[in-house]
Amino acid sequence: MNAEPEPKPERRAAITGIGVVAPGAIGTEAFWKNTADGVTALGRIDREGCTHLPLRVAGEVHGFDPAEVIEDTYLVQTDRFTHFAMVATVWALEDARLGHADLDSPYSVGVVTAAGSGGGEFGQRELQKLWGSGSRHVGPYQSIAWFYAASTGQISIRGGFKGPCGVVAGDEAGGLDALAHAARTVGRGTDTVLVGAAEAPLAPYSMVCQLGYPELSTADDPRSAYTPFTPGARGFAPAEGGAMLVVESEEAAHRRGAPVRATVAGHAATFTGSGRWDRTREGLAHAIRGALAEADCAPEEIDVVFADALGVVDADRAEAAALVDALGPHGRRVPVTAPKTGIGRAYCAAPVLDVATAVLAMEHHLVPPTPNLTDPCCDLNLITDRPHPTPLRTALVLSRGLMGTNAALVLRTGASASR
């Protein structure tokens, strides 16, 4: 799989709203504050049924009550990952000030989500009933709740959004592929697409599924469990939560007077196979070149890079090399950051949270830091201790998945003044 850049869509895809539920930050405002301040939300896992497992540190979402936003009829038939996605969607629509009165037709709004983990908590509960008490005890919602497609479906049903819908069932990079799919959907004529990802991979069953990943950090100190680009890197800490974005055609946003906060300018993805991190140098560099070409963007125009930052020495080295391969000498100068070291990697949601951060960073002209990095060893201009104020017009977001996908996305700042 080696995606060539697509023709530039006539209808540019504009990001007009952001909704976030992240570790340590329920809501976009709290998320940006934590991210800009470099706050660490990683912690020792304290969820019931999880504390005996060899995975010790993760980014958990505490104090999240979906019932404040979503009706019981939806909550009883959905998993935590869908609760995150539904709440984030409500907040993204509020942020975009997009209500049903603004919509020409229910067919003018589509939904695209990415999912890599599915509804593990719901699934585990029902499977325990199956084997503990018998099939009579398994509820019918098991048939829909743990599917990767659940969040797209429920967001569409609850909002009455009947436009083109889709699901990217993928690894981490799927989050960026979903954004690209949404942008193409807008390019083909749908006014609005609600797009993003949320994951809830910290139920006992889901955690056990991850224990086989050699890239998983089993360190038990939240300050040192996930430190990419350092000699002591020992893997990544997983996270739950996610973000949903409102993507509209620029024309539709202008028509209703909504500020264009950023545009999805370019994307490309490549596949280099799982576990072969040395090969991602070539795969990621090719994805970056493809995204730049689609965005009609010179390497020197990139003002900030949101790194994948896996936390595996070979992978980090490959990513640093890929940046220089694709951007030339600018790859060593451009500010690079990985705010996800403060919250962990929420699988498909990780790069979507980075996209949300990139939009907010461009609005504030501030590169947020990479928390917990004391001794970076790579040949990059990595922003570590404190946020770095600098004019930001164009951002590059990178993501690689454990199953071998590499993706790059170019965002440009909106024409509107920052708010």
């Binding site: 009829t73 939806y74 919602y141 829909i144």
Partner: protein, 101 residues
């Protein structure tokens, strides 16, 4: 789509319900299994209104059928989950329960 031959009972120790299912019990089940809040008196007064109007979809009704089968330790007919209104559903279920084992 339940394969009735594979349905297991909860075991000999489980206390099993007897007698007909009331409107109040149905209202409680709608809340418990499908998250649909409905006042029992309102449900009784609108017993011929389709379940859809209360916000209960087909999977929700299927969940109620499953819960009743569990409580009564017996299978309900396949058409129970296809009933469109509370009255039709309660008639179907209670007729079955009244016929004995």
């Amino acid at each position: 789509m339940t394969d009735q031959t594979t349905v297991q009972t909860a075991g000999p120790a489980a206390a099993q319900a007897t007698g007909p299912v009331s409107v109040a019990e149905l209202a409680a089940l709608m809340r418990q299994t499908a998250g649909v809040a409905v006042d029992p008196d309102d449900l009784a007064a609108r017993a011929d209104t389709p379940f859809d109007a209360f916000g209960l979809d087909s999977l929700g009704l299927l969940g109620i059928v499953g819960e009743l089968e569990k409580r009564h330790g017996r299978n309900l007919p396949d058409n129970a989950e296809q009933c469109k209104t509370p009255r039709a559903f309660l008639d179907c279920v209670n007729n079955t329960l009244a016929t004995g084992a």
